[in-house]
Symmetry: C2
Subunit: 299 residues, 2 copies
């Protein structure tokens, strides 16, 4: 049995996954704020899950954690986890000390990528594009995560595609993240709705001209991301995930429309069959926690 | 012993490589124009090399061909080889029929990528960015070529980074290839010099304002390519090759200057150490023919 914990900015999801990759138990906790509180949250999730499934922690095949921050997957250290309120914490060694077993720690987008690949029963290669507060991708090939030479594989949100675009928190200007992420949508579409992306695409569907313009810009940036990833690594599948993906069909159809328009203008682009490679991660599929559980099976 | 043949638009390079990867013999032929003539060129190169090294073709470990066109590496068919004057030719099966041995065929940029990786004795991952008539990259990881799901991995020349840019032969607008390739340089820099890229960078070094502007644009497009490749696949090394790379240090130093400027503006970009990842392929290192010889050792 494997345990996966996805530590988000406000909530933490825990799953237990059996030898067939099936989720047999899951629950959600509130995430504490700051290093010590995040550590307590992770420890509580592990303990509670062990109680629920009736297995001592030492008998588990693996425990994996997905964390939003820069993660050193080798030693389990997490840095720059701004949403969690700490700048440096070695979750891997702290949890090892507490439980006496090895706990794998991975960036949450990489974990979600691995989870999506398995949840959707994909083969070949896949890029999982996470549209959350920020924008990043995880790349999976033959069931394995590609982390890159320095852990920066999939940092596509910081590719500047809009020379005259807005400032990005990364210090550059016009990054893809400044148009297509959840926080970028909030800036471009003023609303009281707790889910601005859905409000935006609903208004666009209803014919609001400003919403149509903003939704078009967002869809085009996502389509540009798809094209860019295919023309670099040529993945079989591109799965859109993260909070923005919960908009669902209204988002996907606009992205596909852009890709179809490009294909109509260029036989080369048409030959890439971009629209057919894109899909959304199923809503509430909890791929990040699932992926965290599966990370223990990775090298 | 392995034989590698790099079939270019005007010349064909042939090498013989021993078990230690050392080039023990090499020569150059003129390339014929059109399918039958290209086939004759390839066959002549193989026969002549066998005579030179004194080995019958049946005793060779492998024969590999690098060809500028869309190559089906599985069956050896080449399509859309505009520079060679044919639209479809199964070089693999034609040569197999003639010599009775299996002949591997690969896209010339992929072959050069593999050759550069071995010539430079690299480890980890590498992108070889070829700046020739067009612009494309080959990606090598742990000594193996990454071709992608549909053979389009590394087609970075057709990522549109300049929305208001010129038309690209691919049907899109403002592709990287429309700024940074050899043919793009010829369009941007009018000269009688047979090597326009060298003329451009010489004039820029001499202080010509127009040359400085064009060279800056070219260097910036190459730097953008480096950033884009690192933020997608995070390769250890980026090797610039192709005709434009023969400009040498004046080109590399301008590309590094752009990367250093970006690093000065963004701590995130600085952390990527982009300038340190880039180098030029050594002039006249014949990496495409070497790589073609090594392709026989690939799956």
């Amino acid at each position: 049995m494997r345990i996966g914990i996805d530590i988000g900015g406000t909530k933490t999801d825990a799953v237990a996954v059996d030898d067939h990759g099936r989720t047999v138990q899951h629950f959600r906790l509130a995430t504490g704020y700051g290093g010590p509180a995040v550590l307590r949250t992770a420890a509580a999730a592990i303990s509670r899950m062990c109680t629920l499934i009736g297995l001592p922690v030492s008998t588990l095949d693996s425990i994996g954690l997905g964390v939003p921050g820069m993660v050193d997957a080798l030693n389990g250290e997490v840095r720059h986890a701004a949403n969690l309120g700490f700048s440096r914490l070695n979750l891997g060694s702290e949890l090892h000390e507490r439980f006496g077993v090895h706990v794998r720690v991975e960036n949450d987008v990489n974990a979600a990528a691995l989870g999506a690949y398995h949840f959707l029963e994909l083969s070949g290669t896949m890029a999982y594009v996470n549209l959350g507060t920020g924008m990043a991708a995880g790349i999976v090939s033959g069931g394995r995560l590609l982390r890159g030479a320095t852990g920066n594989a999939g940092e596509i949100g910081h590719i500047p595609l809009y020379p005259d675009g807005g400032r990005c928190p990364c210090g550059q200007r016009g990054c893809l993240e400044t148009v297509a992420s959840g926080s970028a949508i909030s800036k471009q579409w003023a609303t009281d709705d707790p889910f601005p992306a859905r409000s935006l695409f609903s208004a666009a569907t209803a014919g609001d001209p400003h919403a149509i313009a903003v939704a078009g810009r967002v869809a085009e940036a996502i389509a540009a991301t798809v094209r860019l990833v295919v023309l670099t690594v040529d993945v079989d599948h591109i799965v859109i995930g993260g909070g923005v993906s919960r908009v669902g069909e209204p988002l996907l159809s606009r992205v596909r429309d852009v890709l179809d328009d490009w294909a109509a203008e260029s036989a080369f682009v048409a030959s890439l069959a971009l629209a057919a490679r894109v899909r959304l991660v199923p809503a509430d599929s909890n791929v990040a926690a699932l992926g965290a559980a599966l990370i223990g099976g990775q090298r």
